[in-house]
């Protein structure tokens, strides 16, 4: 097996706030092989976006990455690099697209210039060649009349078109890894599928590695090879998409799946909601972070953090739970 393109070992990101240290990401380990698509799923505040920004090196000054964290990308530790070396990786190494294309694009710079800016910086591409390449990229991401659009500003485009431009910008430097942070959350459902199709096609054609961050398990199910579920700053379950959905072990993952309203269920059916809300990350519970909301929790769950352990049927599938769900049983009674 080849060495992974990206390997996170015990990565934590803490923020200093007036109320104390916020453990936004706490001890995350995950690895991703080249050409794979990883879906990073979680609810608001679970740490998925902070994790993405930690990989990208886009953290604010009040953030701290504690000793012992390592992010290895293409054989090099990103966390021990100097700023200049790190900067050289943003673009040709790792590209990123953000949730809101209105705020991630520069409103006073023409679209074309935003697309070729990175190429000029990293590869010294000439203006004329950059412009030519920008038109090609805009065509590739499905922007009609790219030769006209290239001289327009972001406000002249719809939300879906702006997100396509953001994708063109990220692809311009041909990154090995693309991180898409909730790329379709601000868009309508009919526009969403077009953007996801585009990302998937680019990933396949370029052999690119993709991290797709989303709160929507539906988006992940159809489009990712691997899934990692985050809760309260940590990864609680990870594995191949098929195994994770078919043999869900961790109680939180199951509760999350159960709470989604589904098209194939009858109207007015009572939804299985998760009571309470995620814990405060300044003083997280000492044991399993999901224990206060979990119907299966006991004293052990409340006192000791469950370690990640491998699923018996699939070694790539692992979960952190003291009382995992038995995937062979269809329904289970609350203990």
């Amino acid at each position: 097996m080849a060495a992974p393109l990206l390997e996170l070992t015990n990565v934590s990101t803490h923020f200093h706030s007036p109320a104390g240290r916020v453990r936004a990401v706490d001890g995350v380990s995950v690895s991703l092989e080249a050409g794979q698509t990883l879906g990073l799923v979680g609810e608001s505040g679970s740490g998925k976006s902070v994790l993405a920004r930690t990989i990208m090196g886009l953290l604010p000054s009040y953030a701290e990455i504690p000793e012992g964290s390592a992010i290895t990308f293409d054989g090099r530790n990103l966390l021990t690099m100097d700023r200049k070396a790190r900067r050289a990786i943003s673009g040709p190494g790792i590209g990123m697209i953000f949730q809101d294309p209105m705020t991630s694009l520069n409103p006073v710079m023409k679209i074309g210039q935003q697309v070729y800016e990175g190429m000029r910086h990293h590869f010294g591409t000439s203006k004329a060649a950059g412009r030519q390449r920008a038109i090609e990229l805009l065509t590739e991401v499905g922007i009609p009349q790219p030769d006209v659009r290239i001289d327009q500003y972001p406000h002249q485009l719809s939300g879906g078109m702006r997100q396509r431009v953001a994708i063109a910008i990220a692809l311009a430097c041909e990154p090995k890894l693309l991180i898409a942070d909730e790329p379709t959350t601000a868009l309508d459902v009919t526009v969403q599928s077009g953007i996801l199709d585009l990302l998937q096609r680019e990933q396949r054609d370029r052999g690119m590695t993709l991290i797709l961050i989303t709160h929507d398990l539906g988006v992940v199910a159809g489009r990712c090879d691997q899934v990692a579920v985050m809760y309260a700053g940590g990864i609680v379950e990870t594995g191949s998409t098929r195994s994770l959905f078919a043999r869900t072990r961790m109680r939180y993952t199951q509760a999350l799946l159960d709470s989604i309203p589904r098209l194939d269920r009858p109207p007015h059916e009572r939804l299985k909601s998760i009571g309470g809300r995620p814990p405060n990350l300044i003083t997280p519970p000492p044991g399993c972070r999901f224990a206060p909301r979990c119907a299966f929790a006991d004293a052990q769950c409340e006192s000791a953090m469950p370690p990640m352990q491998a699923d018996e049927a699939d070694a790539t599938h692992s979960y952190a739970c003291w009382h995992p769900r038995d995937p062979e049983r269809v329904t289970e009674e609350v203990a």
Binding site: E43, G160, H268, R277
Partner: protein
């Protein structure tokens, strides 16, 4: 007592802009029967929220009739409207922004009673306490706090309490769970269902999420660019959409099951046409895969299908 609580006829809402008049809602007609939930679905800019706000008279519509249990809200004068408002209330998408940050929860929920001039101070406080309990908050803890001390889901519970304190007949919910996480969304949807039973509510439910709509609605109306495409029972519409736009919307929903490969959506990709100069004839024709010349020439009228649905399409997918 008539079976129909709300009767909306030929509703038109226009907004003047610098580029011209925008017709956000162009002649929408529907009924709400007592005790039912009608969902309005569609994408951003289709006019679903504008329709809901027009029913609330926020702002008043350009033309049309909105009759609530015999009283025409559009024709009602200011004083009459204030009296009638007790009977229809609304909850909004952003639960935190829709609560006054400077007021205590007890004041926020009590306010509608004060405006309506109902009950004395002690009784009002008691009513607020009871209602807080009903929506799942501890009155002893919540009464004296302010909105910023609560999460989004809890603020939505407070909004629901504020809307229900006058015991309205009609509750309008404008994307009530769109800003919430899935696990919290399920709590609020269950609460709305409980409240509907407890207070015999009739609901107009606005959402862009068809899976949520499937859970809450008895009937569904699909909107596109200010007009209705299809109205019918939730089961019929989800099982076999009659309008090509309904089919496109349904095909775009990601299914949380990895054995289902996402299908390309059955709609021509492109931007929503400008509502200032909408396409002639059927407004969906520029993105419709089955559009013909007739669709450009003739506006499709709403017509009834044998199965009880109504559809505005020259080439419906079922029951043609």
């Amino acid at each position: 007592m008539s079976d129909v609580l709300l009767d909306v006829r030929d509703l038109v809402v226009e907004f003047p802009t610098r580029k011209g008049l925008v017709q956000a809602v162009s002649g929408v007609t529907f009924e709400l029967r007592r005790g039912e939930t009608l969902a309005l679905v569609g994408e951003s800019g289709c006019g679903k929220s504008t329709t809901a706000r027009a029913v609330m008279q926020l702002p008043r519509p350009t033309s049309g009739q909105i009759v609530l249990d015999g009283d025409d809200l559009v024709a009602a004068g200011k004083r009459d409207l204030r009296r009638l408002r007790r009977r229809f209330q609304m909850i909004f998408q952003n639960p935190i922004a829709s609560l006054n940050p400077r007021k205590r929860i007890s004041e926020i929920i009590e306010k509608p009673l004060k405006i309506a001039g109902l009950l004395d101070a002690d009784k009002r406080r008691q009513a607020v306490e009871e209602l807080l309990e009903t929506v799942g908050l501890d009155p002893a803890v919540a009464m004296d706090k302010r909105p910023h001390e609560f999460s989004g889901g809890q603020c939505q519970r407070i909004s629901i309490a504020r809307a229900l304190i006058l015991e309205p007949d009609l509750l309008i919910c404008d994307e009530p769970v769109s800003a919430l996480d899935v696990s919290i969304q399920a709590q609020i949807l269950n609460l709305l269902e409980d409240m509907k039973q407890r207070y015999d509510l009739t609901m107009l439910f606005i959402s862009h999420d068809l899976a949520v709509v499937r859970n809450v609605a008895d009937r569904v109306a699909v909107m596109y660019l200010g007009r209705f495409c299809e109205v019918g029972s939730s089961e019929k519409l989800f099982d076999g959409p009659a309008h090509p736009y309904t089919r496109a919307l349904l095909s775009a929903i990601p299914v949380p099951d990895p054995t289902v490969t996402p299908k390309p959506i059955e709609m021509i990709q492109g931007d929503l046409p400008s509502p200032i100069s909408p396409p002639s004839g059927c407004r969906f024709r520029t993105r419709c895969p089955v559009a013909s010349e007739r669709c450009a020439a003739e506006v499709p009228e709403m017509r009834d299908l044998p199965d009880g649905r109504a559809v505005a399409c020259h080439h419906p997918l079922v029951g043609a």
